[in-house]
């Protein structure tokens, strides 16, 4: 027998193993006993956290990919180039996980390809499905350069570099379409969504907030990976990004307030209901607070301060998406929904797989520039 060397069992590896086991058990429950057994979804509440968190929030988290590629490739702001690769990689894993998450939620997951042959161009979900499919492929092509470099396939590297601008443009268009369309999903039931969230501008709000969380996630993940891989932090870049983030969040806040007034729902904020409290938490703690924090130079220029503010922004994004998909519809459906533990477990399971895959990719592929090397300034192409 070959001598197999077991990996060292650290605390986090132990946690990972527990998550994997419980995740597999939950997967078993879902695919053997059904959705009713593994989830708290019901006829009165047909969409739960697998849609609200794994899919609708998950896609938003991947927005960093298109935001950063737009900044670097289209507007040619070279100083942001070192974060292009990690941003694209995060987006790619994010989207891959969204698709896997969807397979748990769909009643007929083996028919996901039906989107290709049965068309309904009136359906927002049809558009989202197609965009996600194509965009995941675009991301794969954008990521492929790293793999080609690693394998030293010079010819493929060259082709990939030549194709990068059309790929980036396609990626931005597809992202603009489906990120906003996730908001359009809710337009067709004006009589079901709580007035604090229903607005014909929902697609626009989804778009602006995905740009915010895209930037926030890039910063968040730079912090985490600098710690995990003991790299130096590209701190000056992050300070600049966080200033953009502060503006986007401020705009989002003001625009939302203006829209509430226009929709005649402004006073609903103070009605003291369950919905109004959750809305205030979302908009004040998740949007206004991080914006203010990041506008203060002293906080922005301090790693801990910036990280805290960015965590609030990411939290606010999740809160907002879950508010739209779950909170906003509880009243009308006369139902309360709280996910079953197996439902949570699948979500945690998928996130854990994502983190692991990211860590492995960083370890084996040239994602982060080597410190002090020429690559640190030049990045992927040209």
């Amino acid at each position: 027998m070959k001598n197999i060397r077991l990996p060292k069992l650290s605390f986090w590896r132990g946690v990972l193993v527990v998550i994997l086991i419980l995740g597999l058990y939950s997967t078993f429950r879902r695919f053997v006993f059904g959705l009713g057994d593994a989830t708290n979804m019901s006829d009165t509440f047909p969409w739960g956290i697998w849609i609200g968190f794994d899919v609708i929030s998950g896609v938003g988290l991947g927005a960093g990919g298109f935001v950063i590629t737009a900044i670097v490739y289209i507007f040619n702001l070279e100083r942001y180039r070192p974060i292009v690769k990690p941003a694209i990689l995060t987006a790619f894993f994010g989207y891959a996980l969204v698709i896997v998450g969807l397979l748990f939620d769909l009643g007929q997951p083996h028919r996901i390809w039906h989107l290709l042959i049965y068309w309904n161009h009136h359906s927002v979900l049809f558009e989202v499905g197609w965009c996600v499919m194509i965009y995941t492929s675009v991301l794969a092509l954008e990521v492929s350069g790293n793999f080609f470099e690693k394998m030293r396939w010079a010819k493929l590297v060259k082709i990939q570099h030549a194709a990068i601008i059309p790929l980036v443009i396609l990626g931005i268009i597809l992202s603009t379409m489906h990120q906003s369309s996730l908001g359009s999903l809710f337009l067709i039931f004006p009589d079901k969504v709580h007035p604090l969230w229903y607005t014909p501008l929902l697609p626009l709000f989804f778009y602006i907030s995905c740009i915010a969380v895209g930037l926030a996630m890039v910063i968040f993940e730079s912090f985490l990976s600098s710690r995990a891989f003991k790299r130096q932090l590209e701190f000056d870049i992050l300070v600049r990004l966080s200033r953009i983030l502060a503006f986007v969040l401020a705009f989002l806040f003001l625009f939302k307030i203006e829209d509430l007034i226009r929709q005649g729902a402004f006073m609903n904020m103070f009605e003291g209901s369950y919905e109004s409290w959750l809305f205030l938490a979302e908009i004040l703690l998740g949007v206004l607070l991080p914006s203010i924090l990041l506008f203060i130079p002293k906080i922005r220029n301090n790693p801990t301060g910036m990280f805290t503010a960015v965590c609030f922004a990411v939290f606010g994004f999740f809160f907002g998406r879950l508010n739209v998909t779950i909170t906003s519809m509880e009243k009308v459906n006369q139902a309360t929904y709280f996910p079953a533990w197996t439902e949570w477990m699948i979500t945690v399971f998928l996130v854990a797989i994502g983190f692991t895959a990211f860590a492995l990719a960083v370890k084996y592929l040239p994602i982060f520039p080597k410190e002090g090397s020429k690559e640190a300034v030049s990045g992927i192409s040209e």
Binding site: L35, F75, H110, S184
Partner: protein, 254 residues
């Protein structure tokens, strides 16, 4: 376009319609009190303030412009020329967008199955296509459920209200709700007291998303153009700036 007119004042609550529905669609005999994957039509009992019982049928409303058909990514739902909104089980991927989107929360799911489908009343499509009535209308002993052309049913409903204004609330539920439905109700008790939503929009729901969806071709073409334009302009300016610097350097050398 066919439809049903359900006159709540005539219903005696016998449940023959529910039984007939079960039999017609080969569904398990047990009748659920609310709509489920196995009960496509059911009978609710409400009590009037004077203690008298009122029976309300629940079934798919068969919207003129149905939200379920508009949202389904694989076009599993279709409004047919008969008026029935039918479901193609062969296409369905089980995303449940129809269930979320339906203003009447009609489509139901097989939650106990590992690979569930959506289920709902299909207005006995196979029968009405061949000129027959729906099973429920055929079974009704008091003509509380009437099958016919939607226009005729509307005329009958208006006639009944006009001739017996004391016996009806002056409203035909389904005439204008979400742009009109093929199943309509008459009642002597205000509809909101019977669990009908009176706050629904009168506009067809698919129009709420079509405004956005129809922008897609513009986003692709104009967006692509704008992005490529920006890229080209920005890069050209950078290039020119570099050339200028080089040129100036050359000149100073000369």
């Amino acid at each position: 376009m066919k439809g049903l007119l359900i006159d709540i004042t005539l219903c005696i609550g016998c449940g023959a319609c529910v039984e007939a529905c079960k039999e017609q669609n080969n569904l398990p005999e047990k009748v659920d009190p609310v709509l489920t994957a196995n009960t496509w039509a059911t009978l609710e009992t409400h009590e009037k303030p004077d203690g008298e019982e009122v029976y309300v049928r629940r079934l798919c409303m068969h919207c003129e412009d149905p939200a379920c058909a508009s949202v389904c990514p694989v076009a599993a739902f279709k409004k047919t020329e008969t008026g029935a909104v039918i479901y193609d089980i062969k296409r369905c991927i089980g995303c449940r967008y129809c269930m979320v989107a339906c203003p009447f929360s009609v489509p139901k799911y097989q939650w106990d199955k590992a690979f569930p489908f959506v289920q709902k009343c299909i207005l006995c499509y196979d029968q009405i296509k061949d000129g027959e009535q729906t099973a429920c209308a055929k079974a009704c002993p008091t003509e509380a459920t009437l099958f016919g052309e939607r226009e005729d049913l509307l005329r009958i409903a208006k006639d009944r209200i006009r001739k017996n204004p004391d016996n009806y609330v002056p409203y035909i539920y389904g005439e204008h709700e979400v742009g009109g439905t093929s199943v309509m109700f008459l009642s002597n008790v205000p509809f909101e007291e019977l669990g009908f939503r009176m706050d629904l929009t009168k506009k067809p729901l698919p129009s709420t998303t079509w405004g956005v969806m129809s922008l897609v071709p513009n986003i692709i073409s104009l967006g692509g153009l704008a992005l490529f334009g920006t890229y080209w302009v920005v890069n050209r300016r950078i290039k020119l700036a570099k050339e200028k610097v080089e040129l100036e350097e050359n000149e100073t050398e000369e």
